[in-house]
């Protein structure tokens, strides 16, 4: 379970402090697909980056499976991160490495004893994961030879290399077309179901949230304005921003 307790993040800027996250508390259960929805600039990416501490909260705490990880540094921090997979909107595959070397990459860091193994073990696990994402035959290709959807599948395989218990998805399908988005989301849902990986998914798209999320939180201007089961939030929206998002989706005017 991931607990975010009273997380705030303030960025100092030339024109004064900017509060990106303002006292956010959320808890994400093990094994669920949790969606964080909101317009760009709402603070979704900053929030999800607090989970693996790519972003240090200014105040508040991050507790994972009962352990406060907020202050971790060095070796312990790297070990924590190797247990949390992450995929990105801009995919970020290493262009100078083959597909299989991209997938192997996290294991070669030896950030934790889990999933490291010998070169041969790494290669066989990487091939297995490429099979899971349906790209076994592309092992020796290079990223620029693949389509956007295929590249994101490789990134998913890479994120799974160290057998993480959590997968963070930062607008992972936003750069993909609709059909590809659907198939990548199906893959994420299958990973959640079959491997039991907890998924935290950020999106501005209600279509994406509807397709895979069990529970969602809606963010606006650094605040979580409402949260609950997908059904509840979408059927009985209370916050104006949720109503507005749903209104845009259905094309109906929202009072």
């Amino acid at each position: 379970m991931i607990e975010l307790n009273h997380i705030s993040k303030v960025f100092p800027t030339r024109s004064g402090d900017f509060t990106a996250l303002d006292d956010i508390s959320l808890s994400i259960e093990s094994g669920e697909v949790f969606g964080i929805i909101g317009e760009s600039g709402a603070g979704k990416s900053t929030l999800v980056r607090c989970i693996n501490l790519l972003e240090r909260p200014t105040s508040g705490s991050v507790v994972i499976d009962g352990r406060d990880v907020t202050g971790l540094a060095g070796r312990e921090l790297r070990e924590l991160r190797s247990g949390i997979g992450m995929i990105f909107q801009n995919i970020s595959l290493f262009q100078q490495r083959s597909v299989i070397d991209n997938v192997r990459f996290p294991a070669t860091l030896k950030a934790s004893s889990i999933g490291s193994g010998s070169a041969a073990e790494q290669a066989s696990r990487a091939r297995e994961l490429l099979g899971v994402v349906g790209l076994a035959e592309k092992a020796d290709a290079f990223p620029n030879q693949l389509s956007g959807g295929q590249q994101q599948r490789v990134a998913i395989a890479r994120a799974l290399m160290t057998s993480p218990s959590v997968l963070l998805c930062d607008e992972a399908t936003s750069a993909l077309d609709t059909l590809t988005t659907g198939s990548v989301l199906d893959l994420l849902a299958r990973i959640n179901r079959e491997l039991g990986v907890t998924i935290v998914l950020i999106t501005h798209s209600l279509f994406v949230a509807r397709k895979v999320c069990g529970r969602v939180a809606v963010m606006e201007a650094g605040h979580v304005v409402e949260q609950g089961s997908l059904q509840d939030v979408f059927d009985h929206p209370r916050a104006d921003v949720t109503k507005a998002l749903l209104g845009i989706e259905t094309g109906k005017e929202v009072a």
Partner: protein, 226 residues
Amino acid sequence: MEWASAFFDKYGLLLAQGSLDTLVMVLASTLGAYLIGVPLGVLLTVLAPDGLKPNRAASAVLGWVINMARSIPFIILLVFLIPATRALVGTSLGVQGAIVPLVVSAAPFVARMVEQSLAEVDGGLVEAAQSMGASTGQIVTKVYLREGLPSLLRGLPITVITLLGYSAMAGTVGAGGLGDIAIRYGYQRYQNDVMVATIVILVAMVQLVQSAGNLLVRKLDRRMHA
């Protein structure tokens, strides 16, 4: 033809020795410049305000030292460094004596080029590696240097060719090599044929270096295999 064969009989050995000296000077100083310049370029990148280990003071001092070294014209650096060169390699003359000032002048140049190449590496890749638990050292070697390799290699012929030019200047203060020959025979004895020969050799060297560099990039940049 008779003229050519007479010319080669007379100057062939001299030009061959000069070419060899120039090559040794340029290759040795390129190696030295990269041994110093690459770590400096990495430091510039890592210590920068948006780098992995931002350090305003260290990065400002380093930048200032590099700019200082780069702002001294080579011909002046050459003379200025004579005592240091003597202390380091025992002589300020010949090929050996030229390598010290060549390295000192090229290392900061290489550092800036390396910084430039590493800046081209997508920040998303650095963040991705961080999210996997990579250490700063791993990010430098496995992400910056690896992903920046094609760009780094494109800088290599630029450095070699710059050093080729500088090595000719070093010739004026007794370093030997083609520059020395061009000055002694072409300038001081009005033997234009010898000077033209050195120019032809230098032009050929530059072309060769650039072509070899391009070939290397084509072979090693995996993005071009599509």
